[in-house]
Amino acid sequence: MASLSPWTRYSLCRSLRYCRSSASSVLFSRDLLRNQNGIAGSGSSRDNCTEAPSPSSSDGKQKASSGKAVTISRAMRAYMERAKAHDDMMKAEVADYEIGKRHLANIMGEDPDSFTQDDVNRAIEYLLPSGLFEKRARPMMKDPYEIFPKKKAAQFGLDGRPYHWLYFTTSPNYYALLYDIAWKMEDLKAEEDRLAEEKDGKPDREKESSDFTLARSEWITHQRLKDLLVENVPEKEYRHFLVLMERLAAHPLAYKMEEFIATYREPIAMQSQTLEVPQIEVDSDGRSFATASGKRKKCAATVRVFKPGSGKVVINGEDLQYFSNFVYRESLLFPLSLTGLVGEVDIEAEVQAQGGPTAQAGAIRLAVSRAVTAFVDESIREDLRLAGMLTEDPRTKERKKPGQEKARKKFTWKKR
């Protein structure tokens, strides 16, 4: 990487122009590099962006191919002018960004053609080191499309008529969703009335409804709803949506709307399904084994569990008498008794000698539990999880506080 003299770096910093976009990110402007390298900064491209293109139909009338005049609404004309101005501005920004990137590559003494965004980031970090904590506040140079917020497309046609029939509510997508829910509810009510009249519909109904359940899924989150509707949905409105959906789902015939309801549900993953089960390996003697590690307080343990075994336990080369206290021996063998593997497996554990026996025994127990999951089936694995054998204990020693004797204990103090 090319090194710069202090003066060059200083002048580079001075000519830097920070543009704060509305997305509160900082744009490393292309003007910098243009000035730095003596390129004539005529600013002609900039002038082009701000200058509004003269409306081609100033009288608002256009001749259609049929020869009849059609009025383009004033709102649409204004929108199109603004959209064109924005496009021009973006085009100029992109062109400047490309030039700036090449200059940056030249400064860094690299090949301008193969200079990627990662290289740009690296160069900026090197040339303009910043001590600011907030990453977004540091100098940056990015593709203008990432920096400038995207503009919303026009919500109305050339004749000035909005596309959406709930346009005037300001949240057409959200209210259209509520409208859908309301009509689904009305449909269900009508269906219920119809079924009540003809009583034969009952057995059919029970059969179908049997596999409709909400237990395996939950309502989509507030953020997800916002993304789905591409609208800002206030918290209150989100709760209103939930109330309506709950009401719809609680209807006895809700299974008929399963497809609709499912679009606003997200499946809940079972925790035992997300567990990582260690691979079963085979050693030189042909015995299969699984390796796992566990932690408790500051102590870490690695355990190998051999499947056809005789119940032999080796901890750091010693047997179970490594722990003098029975409580610890029992605790590390508990996963085996829970799964019914006592006397059927061998355990080989390596544990760091730091920390007390509780930490060591706990770490071994967690590692054993994890390793054992490789040899048992799904239901026993779930039993292990429910017994808390597969959960790491996050508690650690609390730090000592200054002005206190220990973490919580205070110095003895007497008023006089």
Binding site: Q155, L158, R161, P162, W165, F168
Partner: protein, 283 residues
Amino acid sequence: MSLYSRMIRWRACQSVKSCCSLHKTALSRAKVNLEQVARFSGSKLVCNQQEVEAPTPMRGEETESVADTALQHDDYFGLKNLVTVRDLFEARVHLGHNSGLRHESMSPYIFGERQGTDIIDLEQTLPLLQHALDVCAHIVYRGGMVLFLSRNQQTLPWVERMAQEVGEYSHCRPWKRGIFTNASSIFSTLPIYPELCVFLGTQDTVFEMHLGIVESSKLLIPSIGVVDSNCDNSDLTYHVPGNDDTPAAIHLYLRLFREAVTRAKAKRKEDGLSLDPVAYDES
């Protein structure tokens, strides 16, 4: 005996003086009634006689001959035969609120008070409703946007569906302040306003008037409103006295407005007024 036939009979009683020798206790009151009815029916004749001013072409304006001819027609869309007083009565349009809740501006449209409830005069409602439908149809005929508003939760889905099906707009949700008066910042475009607001009920909550009425009035947007006996009709351009709570009544209004808009759109197509907008040419 239905209330409807009673109403007709009551009218008959009132107009023929000789028939009205009532019970002693009611006699004096009946005399007052008669005088007032006579006075009222006279004044009503006067209002019915009002002249409709022919549209005068404005200076510097090329007259849009087709639309103007349609405007001079008394009932261009044939909306007068859509509804009768009987239909209104059967849809419970005559039922007002408790007399204690009566709004002063509505008293000319109230037929009388029956056991503490105001009864709206359907013979006044009918022409006003037909007039409003005609105006609505003419605005649609010229390509105007119509916004249907209502705050009645019970009939909300029907109002929205009607608006969607006829290709117009609807707003039956809580009114955010400034949708009209501050439109450019709320929608972040040049403001777009409907050409007509139709309020199927003028109350927002039980105690408040719909904010859209004042906003449309401020922004020079004409409004049509169904006003119940407890509502203020002063800010509406066209008011239709009638029940705004009963689903049957609201469904009747919806049916009528749907018909008016549909007919106007059909006529618009027939008369060659609707054009597909051409693509905007960038050059």
